[in-house]
Symmetry: C2
């Protein structure tokens, strides 16, 4: 099967390597607006070849859209304009509601499958692509009933070939739950990095004292603004809702410290510990 | 050299294994107020034997104090009462100002070395002890000039035998910098766990959608209340200061979302990204 990857960064590039390695793709084509990214993708053998967008679409049975989510809004209708019944278009973005609303009435809507592989790292670009990124992670298929059964089946088999578990959600619930468990983690981590950079002017000191705990909590603060600002823009209302709750939780810790209510503090840490049973 | 470890949890237990393995200790003695912890420490071979506190002090050339920091306030003066010029007492706690103020005038003060190995995990107890926990991490010696040169040298050689880098700080700066780079990470992580548990009532959903990014940001939320509440209590003022800054940083993201100021949001993410050059 020939598959093209529009956007050959962390996600597109990793998917391209995985699908070629596991044999699901026999030929992989990369498309990227940055010629530098195209060069890197070829040098790192992420894809077999690179092409212009329209040529790649015409040559592929599966078209994977893996750009930042703002670019998807521009490209998805154009891509759907060009595909036929033998082709499947799959996006791998982190927000769905705007994108799906945009193509609800497109005549080729049924060739499109909205998917969100819940996998990533704090790095970006072709140099960040790694095999095995998706193994044993969840891929959420969003509003799958709007896709043609054969397109849905192709997408499902593609993600399953990377050892992903499949899950289903509608667009609203997808964006809401992602605000809870993914988008807020990024904002918390960006804010923590800014806090420490603001308070701690002696960089050598941070470096020396930063234990692995700090490193893990601010890991996501290395994430790319190009990728994340469009996500926050598209999922603004849900993110605001969860951010309010997060500020409220921190403010309660603050009040407990001010009042020296360490029994209350203890209870809330024990409640936070319950995240263990979910994550382990 | 015979070394006793008062508190055989994550830090005491890991140090005991490391020092026995690398030959710095020829005999290791565990002391713990919990007989269950003593049993586990023996079964897991963290120490050669366990003893009552006073017998262990009398039998040891080095006494390592590795309890929660509130217990240290009670034990350190008692231990110093009993030691002679051939013995060295080393604590490994995360806060220093209160502890050091407490023994400033103790006649045996010079036998004591205040140390903080910047290493840990989110787990606790003897079952969390692992070798290699300290390799290539920093150990801060606090107010080292108040220790006798031979005691200081013993402590330095002990931590260096575990491949730790040594650094020095005074008590005030130690507690301040630790609030910045360690204690605030824990509060941020506890608060994030509470946010998600509050907002996301469907635990199965969290489990499915939680990508590795979320897992890394809330990792510290698994940390023990018994260990951390005494730290926050002792370092309350510095922690409050950094917590105020953190809430302020989050509130700025909130204002930017409300105003749809995504250019400003972008700039602040890029600034947060600078944490890269410190951590990498």
């Amino acid at each position: 099967m020939t598959i093209c990857f529009i956007g050959i960064g962390l996600i597109g590039g990793s998917l391209a390597i995985s699908l070629k390695e596991n044999g699901f793709a026999t030929r992989t084509i990369g498309v990227d607006s940055s010629s530098d990214n195209c060069d890197k993708a070829i040098r790192r053998r992420l894809v077999d070849e690179t092409m212009e967008l329209n040529a790649a679409i015409a040559a592929s049975e599966v078209i994977v859209l893996a750009t930042p989510v703002d670019v998807m809004l521009k490209l998805l209708p154009q891509i759907l304009d060009q595909v036929g019944d033998h082709q499947t278009v799959v996006d791998v973005g982190s927000t769905k509601e705007l994108l799906l609303n945009l193509v609800d009435d497109h005549p080729n809507r049924s060739r499109f499958v909205a998917a969100h592989p819940m996998a990533g790292t704090e790095f970006s670009g072709p140099e960040a692509a790694v095999p095995e990124l998706f193994s044993h992670k969840t891929c959420v298929i969003v509003d799958g009933e709007l896709s043609a059964p054969d397109a849905l089946e192709t997408a499902r088999r593609m993600f399953q070939s990377c050892e992903m578990r499949l899950s289903r959600l509608d667009r609203k619930n997808h964006d809401l739950h992602c605000a809870y468990v993914s988008h807020i983690s990024h904002i918390a981590s960006f804010a923590l990095a800014l806090t420490v950079l603001e308070k701690e002017h002696d960089e050598q000191r941070i470096f020396e004292l930063a234990s692995s705990g700090f490193g893990s909590t601010v890991r996501l603060a290395k994430s790319s603004a190009d990728m994340w600002v469009p996500i926050f823009r598209q999922n603004r209302d849900h993110v605001l809702d969860v951010l309010d709750e997060h500020i409220e939780q921190l403010s309660r810790f603050r009040t407990q410290l001010i009042k020296r209510d360490f029994d209350g503090f203890y209870e809330r840490i024990e409640r936070a510990n319950q995240i263990k049973k979910i994550l382990n």
